[in-house]
């Protein structure tokens, strides 16, 4: 069964550094998403992306965050200057239709020291 893959599985960085989280969505999907989950807390929506542009973003997704689909397969989340509170599990997801079943990757655990 096709799956969403995320790399790396763990990322440790120093506060103020830039990080790029990478995702390869399912190949025929058109809608792409980033979510984050702080340990033990709810899964928070960050951004959705369709037709090479952001469709929706949350208040969390401020100027420090950006997304890109640099080629036909990758979908990336960049955090320009990480803060301690950015420490979380980041999940990428994709879907064939925008309001239908989401397929999630296994996540990248980001630790900001």
């Amino acid at each position: 069964e096709p799956e969403v893959t995320q790399t790396p599985s763990h990322q440790v960085t120093q506060m103020g550094q830039e990080v790029i989280l990478r995702c390869v969505p399912i190949s025929n999907h058109l809608y792409f998403y980033w979510y984050r989950q702080i340990l033990g807390q709810k899964v928070e929506f960050l951004v959705s992306f369709y037709n090479n542009e952001i469709s929706e973003k949350s208040e969390i997704f401020d100027d420090q965050f950006s997304v890109e689909r640099p080629d036909g397969s990758n979908f990336t989340l960049k955090i320009r200057s990480t803060k301690l509170e950015d420490s979380a599990m980041y999940f990428c997801a994709s879907s064939w239709q925008g309001e239908e079943k989401l397929f999630f990757g296994s996540g990248t655990q980001l630790s900001v020291l």
Binding site: Y35, V43, F45, S48, E56, A93, E99, L102, F104, G107
Partner: protein, 112 residues
């Protein structure tokens, strides 16, 4: 906010018993979905119910939706130890954007 909120926050039952989780939401929706998350893993889609549907079944899962009360329930029948996980409801608002919002989840523990 749009978020679904589940209750109970945690549920512990014996294997073979049924587990019922509830979800409430605040805004108009196009559909409501339930997902499962095993500890530290990604979410897995379980079932989707549309706003014009009242009940849906999938294997041991039964989902109901009451749009007048803005609530949904997920019933897992004849639970198994392998059903131990967190369960989240998710709603998609009919705002034209693509924004699936998750509730806080119910942690289900099924004792063997």
């Amino acid at each position: 906010s749009q978020q679904g909120e589940e209750d109970p926050q945690a549920l512990s039952i014996q294997e073979g018993e049924n587990a019922t989780m509830n979800c409430s939401y605040k805004t108009s929706i196009n559909n409501l979905q339930w997902y499962r998350q095993n500890s530290g893993r990604g979410l897995v889609h379980l079932i989707l119910i549309r706003s014009n549907e009242r009940e849906k079944h999938s294997g041991r899962l039964r989902v109901t939706l009451d749009t007048s009360k803005k609530s949904s329930s997920l019933l897992i029948t004849a639970s198994r130890a392998a059903d131990t996980a967190s369960y989240f409801c998710a709603t998609v608002a009919n705002t034209g954007g693509f924004k699936t919002i998750f509730g806080a989840g119910t942690r289900l523990f099924v004792k063997a």
